[in-house]
Symmetry: C2
Subunit: 295 residues, 2 copies
């Protein structure tokens, strides 16, 4: 988990990481988040505080943190972390995540990252505001921006691009379905399919000419292209922004992805595709946006 101190203008004054004790169960994760937040506020004024991508916004002057922004995966309301397959929790109230005497703003990690991309990452880049943000890390999710606003759907579950069936009946996914995009193209899946601990290692093997790693990488790019072709046909975005850890692969990912997306679309032009300018910081900045709104 990542935490930090972010000024109102989006300047990251301090950032740090702590391991998430996922194996110890949901209560341990919630307690670890709370301890992380407390530790960061105690180190004030230099640092701020954070959580599973949570942030205390603090002014650039070094004065006290003003609020805690906390973003988590799964189904989230402003009041509760309702469900997360990754952490196994159910109905955790926002207050349970911190012991500090500050307002707490709870949000969805990927949607918050999308808010940060809209606020900080798109200077004049997509006038229609029709943009898909796809952070690719352990898993894959999407933030759907339509006409400049994030779209949550009828029950707040929109954007689950990581679990659309790109290869019906294909590889099993942790969500219980088969053939999901995440099972092929998440950084976690790319690493696991090659017996590596990171997608970076897989990419190194690809560069050394390893045939298996090449096949896994090609599968990731091809299934991403299928998912983006589907999204493009349904929603006609102006721009697709790939974020998260895998976006750090840069041209090795974005170049072939553009080519394959164009090849999948016979009767229309593809949208522009580029790597995020915020990279893995988008989640941090999104949490900070939530927190500043709560002050």
């Amino acid at each position: 988990m990542k935490g930090g101190l972010v000024a109102r203008d989006g300047t990251i004054l301090h950032a740090e990481r702590r391991p998430t004790p996922r194996a110890e169960g949901p209560d341990a994760v919630v307690a670890a988040v709370s301890a992380f937040v407390t530790a960061l506020t105690e180190h004030h004024p230099a640092p701020g505080c954070g959580s599973a991508s949570g942030f205390v916004p603090g002014p650039a002057t070094g004065s006290a943190p003003r609020a805690v922004g906390l973003v988590v995966p799964g189904l989230v309301t402003p009041a509760r972390a309702v469900f997360s397959a990754a952490f196994g929790w159910r109905d955790v109230p926002a207050e349970a995540f911190t012991d500090v005497d500050l307002p707490v703003a709870l949000g969805h990690d990927v949607r918050a990252a999308g808010e940060a991309e809209l606020a900080h990452g798109l200077p004049g880049d997509a006038p229609s505001g029709d943009v898909l943000f796809v952070p690719i890390g352990t898993g894959i999710a999407g933030a759907v921006a339509l006409s400049g606003s994030l779209y949550g759907g009828a029950s707040g579950w929109a954007g689950q691009i990581g679990h659309i069936p790109v290869r019906p009946g294909g590889l099993p996914c942790g969500c219980g379905q088969r053939g999901c995009l995440s099972a092929y193209a998440s950084a976690g899946a790319v690493a696991a399919r090659c017996g590596e601990t990171s997608a970076e290692e897989v990419l190194r093997r690809v560069r050394r000419g390893d045939a298996h790693a090449r096949q896994v990488w090609d599968d990731a790019v091809e299934t991403l292209a299928l998912a983006l072709a589907t999204y493009t046909l349904l929603l006609d975005p102006e721009l697709v922004v790939i974020g998260g850890g895998l976006s750090l692969a840069g041209p090795a990912l974005i170049g072939p992805l553009r080519d394959r997306l164009a090849a999948r679309l016979a009767f229309r032009r593809p949208p522009r595709v580029r790597a995020s300018r915020l990279g893995p910081d988008a989640g941090l900045l999104g949490a900070a946006l939530l927190a500043w709104r709560a002050t």
Copy 2:
């Protein structure tokens, strides 16, 4: 093509069909539309006039038609029919479709059908306004309603659910891609795969126990379920309305489709799915809505 006379309140006062001379090329289709519109206005006051799903709205009193509403497939702007793969035209101005001295409102067939469903087909049925309309006929398209308004995307091409790759590398589609939903689940594809002239004939064979027809019908339902699962994961609709000719299959389509959609979604509930209450009239009513707005 269908044409008719529609009152302001959506009452269809007159409707008729004419063959579309598709084989004779785009100019012949445009001329046939124009002749159809003229003939209908000349038969006034009883009938109205129409086109490739075009309508002249006329008041219920039998007074003169007030405008022409014209809806066509493909890429359309209010001023021009830009492109249609079905008819092969490019950049036909709205005025070219009629010779009569009435305002002409041009629109997209499926989007107009979606407008009619929103206006006439959803009394209190989906409070969020997050609804997907899928007319299934010769082809398949979708009208994407988000928060009660139709969404067109960055360049007006949203809703192409008929061409998402449900079976990557699968059957060729008329659009130039492979594995598109339309290649399995359109009424045209269902009929063609069984050597029949209509999907109704295929369904009759299914009921008589024909194994090939059963396989083709199952393929149609399964690929529709895949496409709706994908849409649901991306956009979280409250309701899916299946329209067009295939929706007349009723429970034989909707029942299995609901079951397979639920089976495809492991970690969330499916949206409600039902047949359109307007059926194949949705396009007519949508054209009339456009025309009445032009008066």
